[in-house]
C-alpha cells in the first residue's frame, strides 16, 4: 500500500541479495543513529551527505544574491528547507532530529521576531517604520559592497521559511511515519540496524 513496503519483500534468492546491495549497514550519514536497514539506500545517503552542505551554502548564496539577481530570503529559505527534506528522506527523522537541535517553532518565531524588529528598528532613529539604510563599503582595489539593512528582513524571512519546512517535516514526515509505525503498518524495526 505504501511506497516503503513495496521495496524489500518483492523478490527472493539472488534478486534479494541484489536488492540488498544498496542497503548499507555502516554509518553513512553524519550522525550516529541509523534507521531500519531496509529503509536505507546507499546512493541516496551518499548523495545526501555530499549535497547537504553544498545546498546549504547555495541557499545562503541565494539569500545574499537576492538584491542583485533572482533569489532572496524566500527562495534561499526554500532551498535550505529542501536540503533538510533530502536528509529526512535519506536518513529518516531520527537523523534530522539529532542533527538539528533547534525546534522548528522556535526557528519560525525567531525569523518573525528578526523581521519585525528590523521593521521597527528605524523608529529608534526617528525614521518611519520599515525604513532602510544603505552603507557602501569600499575595499580598495577589490571594489565595493552595498550593505542594506533590509537584508536583515530577508534573513528573518530565510529563517522563518526553513522553520516552516522543518515543521512540515516534523508533522507530515515524522508525525505520519510514527503514526504508521504505531498502527503496525511498517515492517518491525531493529533488524540489523547499525
Amino acid at each position: 500500500m505504501t511506497t516503503s513496503q513495496e521495496k524489500p519483500t518483492s523478490a527472493a534468492g539472488d534478486a534479494e541479495s541484489w536488492a540488498r546491495m544498496d542497503q548499507p549497514s555502516g554509518r553513512w550519514m553524519l550522525t550516529g543513529t541509523c534507521p531500519d536497514v531496509r529503509e536505507r539506500t546507499l546512493v541516496l545517503e551518499s548523495a545526501a551527505r555530499l549535497l547537504f552542505p553544498v545546498v546549504l551554502v547555495f541557499s545562503v548564496f541565494l539569500l545574499l544574491e537576492g538584491h542583485y539577481g533572482p533569489g532572496g530570503g524566500f527562495s534561499g529559505g526554500l532551498v535550505a528547507g529542501l536540503a533538510f527534506v533530502l536528509r529526512h528522506i535519506a536518513g529518516g527523522d531520527d537523523n534530522l532530529g539529532s542533527r538539528f537541535r533547534i525546534r522548528p517553532p522556535v526557528l519560525v518565531g525567531t525569523g518573525l521576531i528578526i523581521a519585525v524588529l528590523t521593521a521597527l528598528a528605524p523608529v529608534a532613529w526617528g525614521d518611519p517604520v520599515l525604513a532602510s539604510v544603505k552603507w557602501t563599503v569600499t575595499f580598495g582595489p577589490f571594489g565595493y559592497l552595498d550593505i542594506v539593512t533590509s537584508l536583515l528582513l530577508d534573513v528573518g524571512v530565510y529563517l522563518l521559511i526553513i522553520g516552516v519546512v522543518l515543521d512540515l517535516l516534523r508533522s507530515l514526515g515524522s508525525g505520519i511515519a510514527r503514526d504508521a509505525r504505531e498502527a503496525g503498518e511498517d515492517p518491525p524495526r531493529g533488524s540489523g540496524a547499525g
Partner: protein, 790 residues
C-alpha cells in the same frame, strides 16, 4: 488630562502584585488615585467652566484620528461621580472583599482600569476617542461582572451585558462614521457648532437622521433603556461594590452622557428627541413598576436605576435650558443616593447573609446607622427636601410646565407617574430592609466602619449638595448655557435652588409623595397581579440569542459536512455565481490577442494542458500528484520564457516542496481514488462545475490582462527608487523595501499555516520532553487528553 487617564491604567497594571502583598493597601492606592483625580479636577474647575481645558494628541493625522480630551461642566459632573464616588467605593471594597478572597486582586485592578476608561469617556472631545473608551468600558465591565468565571450566573450576566452594549456600540460606530463623513470632522465642538448654525449636511437630511438613530442605539443600550434594559438587573450578579460603581455610579451613565453631549446639537431634530423621550419615559415608568415587584433588595435598586436612567434621558433629550439644569442636578443626585443605597445593601448582605426583604426583620432597631443612611439616601431618591434629589426633581417638573404644549404636559404627567413609582419603591426598600415584620429578628453582626463610613460620606454629601444648590447651579448653568430657554422669560433666569415659590412643581411632588405612599401601603394586590408576563424583554433577548445559535448550527450543519468535494464545489459555485455574470455582461475581450508571443510557449503550454487533462483521468493518487507537479513545473517554465526568473525560481521550489509534502501525506491514504461506481451519480455535476469554473478563471485572466490601457502607475516610482533602496533586483527591492510591510504580513501567515498544520497532525499526540529526549508519549488516550488540556 491624558496623563491622568494613563496613570489609572499604569496603576491598574501594578495593583495585582500589590494586592497579593496587601489587599487593603491595593484598594487604598486605587482610592487615593481616584481622590487625587477629583482634587485635581476641582482645582481646574474654574478654568474649565469658563472656557474648557483641552488636551490633544494627533494619533493618525492622515486618517483624522485624534486623541482629544476636554474638560467642561458635564465632564466635571461625571468626574465627581467617577472619581469621587469611585474613591469611596474603593474604600468600601477594601472591607467588602474578605481576607481570603481570590477576587480582590483582579477586582481592584479592574476597578481602577475601569475608572480610567470612564474618565476618558466623559472627557472625550472627539467622537472616535469617545467610541474607543466607550467599548473599553464595556470590556472592563464584562470582566468585572464575569468575575472569575466560576459561576454560571456571573458568566451569563457578563455575556448579556457585553452582547447588548457592544451591539449598540457597533451600531454607534456606524453612526459616528456616517456623522463624521457628513460633518467632515469627528470633533464634538465642531459638529455642535455646525449643527446649531445649520451648516451640518443641509442637503442630506436622511443620512443625518440615520446616523443619529444609530448613535442613539448605542446610548440606549448602554444606559439600559427600554427594550434593552434587562442586562442591568442581571448584571447585579457581580459583587456589590462593583454593582454600586459600574451600574449605579458610572458605566450606565455613559449613554446619558452621550445624549447630554450631543443634545445641544441635535435636540431640535424629532428623530433625536422623540425616541429618547418616549423610551426614556417608558423606561422610567416600567423600571419603577418592576422595582415594586422585586423581593431582592439589590434587584429592587437595579430596577430603580433603570427607572432613574429613563428620567435622565428625558431631561437631556428635551433640549431646553431648565431641563438641562435639572439633568445635571439629577445626574449628581442619582450617583450620590444610589451608591450609598447599594453600599447599605452590601452591608446588610454581609451582616445577615440575605438580601431578601421577606427574610429581613427588625434591622432598623438593631442597625440604626444603616437605617439612617438608607433613609437619607432614600429621601433624595424620592425627591423630598432638603436633598439634591428634590432640587433636581423640582427643576424637572418646572422645565416641562414651562415648556407647555402637548409634549410638555404629556412629559410632565409621565414624570409625575414615574416619581410616584419612585416614592413607592423607595418606601418598599426602606420597609423591606428595616421594618419589623413579625418574623424572628435578623442581623446580629455589627457592620465595620469600612463598610458604613463611605456610605455615610456619600449620603451626607447628598444633603450638603442640596443646601449647596447655588454651587450645583454654577456647574449646571455652564452646561445649560448652550441650550435654548424654552418657555417664557422666567425660563431664561430659572436657577436651581432648594426653595422656589410654591407652584405646580411643588404640587407634583406632593402628588407623587402621597400617591407613592398609598401605592406602597395598599397597592400590593395591584402590583402583584397586574403584571405583564407575556411581554418580557429578557425573553426577547433569549429568543434572539437562541435564534442566532440555531441558525448558526443550521448553516454550519449544511455547509461543514466534512466532504472536500462539497467544500471545493461551494467555493467554485460562489466564484461562478458572483463575479461570473458580471464578467459575462461587462467584460470585453481584448482585440490584440496573439496565439503566442514566443515559439517556446507552445510546447510548454501544450505540456501543461496535457497534464491537466490527464489529471482529470487519473485513478491513482500518486499519479495525480505527479501530474499536478507537472502542471506546476510547466507554469514555472512559462515564467522563464516570459523573462521572470524570480517568479520561476520561487515556483519551482514551492512546487518541489508541495510534491514532497504530498508524498508524505499519501503514505497514509489509499492508493486509488474512490471507485468510479460510487461517484457516477455526481460525476456530471462535478465536471460541469469544474469546467465552468475553469473557463471562467481563464476568461477572467485574459480579460483582466487586457483591461489595462495605460502604463501602470506604480511601477515607475519603484524602478526609479530601486537604486536608492540598494537593490539592482527590482523584485527584491519591492519585496523587502517598498512593500516590506506586505512581506512581514505574508510571513506571519506562513507562521500561522505551519502552526496550523502541526496542530492538525500532532494534535492527538503529546510528547513530554526532557533535555531534548522524549520521556513520555501518548496517542490520544484519555490520560493524554488531560495532560494536553492541563
Amino acid at each position: 488630562m491624558l496623563a491622568v487617564v494613563a496613570a489609572h491604567l499604569v496603576l491598574a497594571l501594578c495593583l495585582p502584585a500589590l494586592a497579593r502583598y496587601h489587599r487593603r493597601l491595593a484598594f487604598g492606592a486605587g482610592a487615593a488615585l481616584l481622590a487625587a483625580t477629583l482634587v485635581w479636577t476641582m482645582a481646574q474647575a474654574s478654568t474649565a467652566l469658563s472656557g474648557g481645558v483641552t488636551d490633544r494628541i494627533e494619533w493618525a493625522p492622515e486618517l483624522g484620528l485624534t486623541l482629544s480630551l476636554r474638560m467642561d461642566a458635564l465632564a466635571i459632573a461625571m468626574i465627581v461621580l467617577v472619581s469621587g464616588v469611585g474613591a469611596l467605593i474603593m474604600i468600601y471594597a477594601a472591607w467588602y472583599f474578605g481576607p481570603r478572597s481570590t477576587d480582590a486582586a483582579r477586582s481592584a485592578a479592574l476597578l481602577v482600569a475601569f475608572a480610567g476608561m470612564m474618565l476618558g469617556l466623559v472627557l472625550a472631545d472627539d467622537l472616535l476617542t469617545l467610541y474607543v473608551f466607550w467599548e473599553l468600558t464595556s470590556l472592563t465591565s464584562f470582566l468585572l461582572v464575569g468575575q472569575g468565571g466560576q459561576y454560571r450566573e456571573n458568566r451569563r450576566a457578563a455575556v448579556q451585558a457585553l452582547v447588548v452594549t457592544v451591539f449598540g456600540g457597533l451600531a454607534m460606530l456606524l453612526g459616528i462614521v456616517l456623522l463624521g463623513q457628513l460633518a467632515g470632522t469627528y470633533s464634538i465642538p465642531e459638529i455642535t457648532a455646525a449643527a446649531t448654525s445649520g451648516t451640518l449636511a443641509p442637503d442630506s437630511p436622511v443620512a443625518l437622521s440615520v446616523s443619529l438613530v444609530l448613535i442613539l442605539l448605542g446610548a440606549l443600550t448602554k444606559s439600559a433603556q427600554l427594550p434593552f434594559h434587562p442586562w442591568l438587573p442581571y448584571a447585579m450578579a457581580a459583587p456589590t461594590p462593583i454593582s454600586a460603581y459600574l451600574h449605579a455610579a458610572s458605566m450606565v451613565k455613559a449613554g446619558v452622557v452621550l445624549v447630554a453631549r450631543l443634545g445641544p446639537a441635535f435636540s431640535v431634530h424629532p428623530v433625536w428627541w422623540a425616541p429618547v423621550m418616549v423610551l426614556g419615559l417608558a423606561t422610567m415608568v416600567l423600571g419603577g413598576w418592576r422595582a415594586m415587584r422585586q423581593t431582592d433588595l439589590k434587584r429592587l435598586l437595579a430596577f430603580g436605576t433603570v427607572s432613574q436612567l429613563g428620567f435622565l434621558m428625558v431631561l437631556f433629550g428635551a433640549g431646553s435650558r431648565v431641563a438641562g439644569l435639572a439633568g445635571i442636578a439629577m445626574l449628581l443626585a442619582h450617583g450620590l443616593f444610589k451608591a450609598p443605597l447599594f453600599m447599605v445593601v452590601g452591608a446588610i448582605d454581609k451582616a445577615c447573609g440575605t438580601r431578601d426583604l421577606r427574610e429581613l426583620c427588625g434591622l432598623g432597631r438593631r442597625r440604626r446607622g444603616l437605617a439612617v443612611i438608607a433613609a437619607l439616601a432614600g429621601l433624595s431618591m424620592a425627591g423630598l427636601p432638603p436633598m439634591l434629589g428634590f432640587v433636581g426633581k423640582e427643576a424637572a417638573f418646572e422645565a416641562f410646565v414651562l415648556e407647555g404644549g402637548v409634549r410638555g404636559w404629556v412629559t410632565a404627567i409621565g414624570l409625575v407617574l414615574g416619581s410616584l413609582l419612585t416614592v413607592a419603591y423607595t418606601a418598599r426598600f426602606l420597609w423591606g430592609a428595616f421594618s419589623t415584620k413579625g418574623l424572628h429578628p435578623t442581623g446580629g453582626d455589627p457592620v465595620p466602619l469600612g463598610l458604613s463610613g463611605p456610605a455615610w460620606l456619600c449620603a451626607l454629601t447628598g444633603i450638603a449638595a442640596g443646601f449647596a444648590a447655588p454651587l450645583v447651579q454654577q456647574l449646571a448653568a455652564s452646561y445649560a448655557a448652550s441650550l435654548p430657554p424654552v418657555g417664557d422669560a422666567y425660563a431664561a433666569r430659572y436657577e436651581l435652588a432648594l426653595w422656589h415659590t410654591p407652584g405646580l412643581p411643588l404640587l407634583f411632588t406632593g402628588v407623587a409623595l402621597v400617591g407613592g405612599l398609598l401605592l406602597h401601603r395598599y397597592g400590593q394586590p395591584l402590583t402583584g397581579h397586574l403584571s405583564v408576563p407575556h411581554v418580557s424583554a429578557q425573553r426577547g433577548y433569549e429568543a434572539v440569542v437562541t435564534g442566532l445559535e440555531r441558525s448558526a448550527i443550521a448553516v454550519t450543519g449544511r455547509l461543514q459536512i466534512g466532504s472536500l468535494p462539497v467544500y471545493l464545489g461551494c467555493i467554485l459555485a460562489t466564484l461562478i455565481a458572483l463575479p461570473g455574470p458580471v464578467i459575462a455582461v461587462t467584460g470585453t475581450w481584448p482585440t490584440d490577442q496573439a496565439p503566442y508571443h514566443s515559439i517556446m510557449q507552445v510546447p510548454v503550454g501544450l505540456m501543461v494542458i496535457i497534464a491537466a487533462i490527464a489529471l482529470c483521468l487519473a485513478h491513482r493518487r500518486f499519479t495525480a500528484v505527479l501530474l499536478v507537479g507537472a502542471v506546476g513545473y510547466g507554469i514555472g517554465g512559462l515564467f522563464v520564457i516570459d523573462g521572470a526568473p524570480d517568479l520561476a525560481l520561487a515556483q519551482f521550489l514551492v512546487e518541489t516542496l508541495t510534491l514532497v509534502a504530498f508524498v508524505f501525506v499519501l503514505r497514509r491514504l489509499p492508493a486509488h481514488f474512490d471507485e468510479p461506481d460510487t461517484e457516477r451519480r455526481v460525476r456530471g455535476p462535478k465536471a460541469a462545475v469544474a469546467a465552468v469554473g475553469g473557463l471562467l478563471v481563464a476568461g477572467m485572466a485574459v480579460m483582466l490582462s487586457g483591461a489595462r490601457t495605460l502604463p501602470p502607475a506604480t511601477t515607475e516610482p519603484f524602478i526609479a527608487g530601486a537604486p536608492e533602496a540598494g537593490a539592482t533586483n527590482l523584485i527584491s527591492a519591492i519585496l523587502v523595501d517598498f512593500r516590506a510591510l506586505d512581506t512581514v504580513g505574508e510571513i506571519t501567515v506562513l507562521l500561522i499555516c505551519a502552526s496550523g498544520t502541526a496542530s492538525l497532525v500532532l494534535a492527538t499526540r503529546y510528547d513530554k520532553r526532557q533535555n531534548g529526549k522524549v520521556v513520555r508519549s501518548g496517542s490520544g488516550s484519555p490520560k493524554h487528553e488531560k495532560e494536553v488540556l492541563g
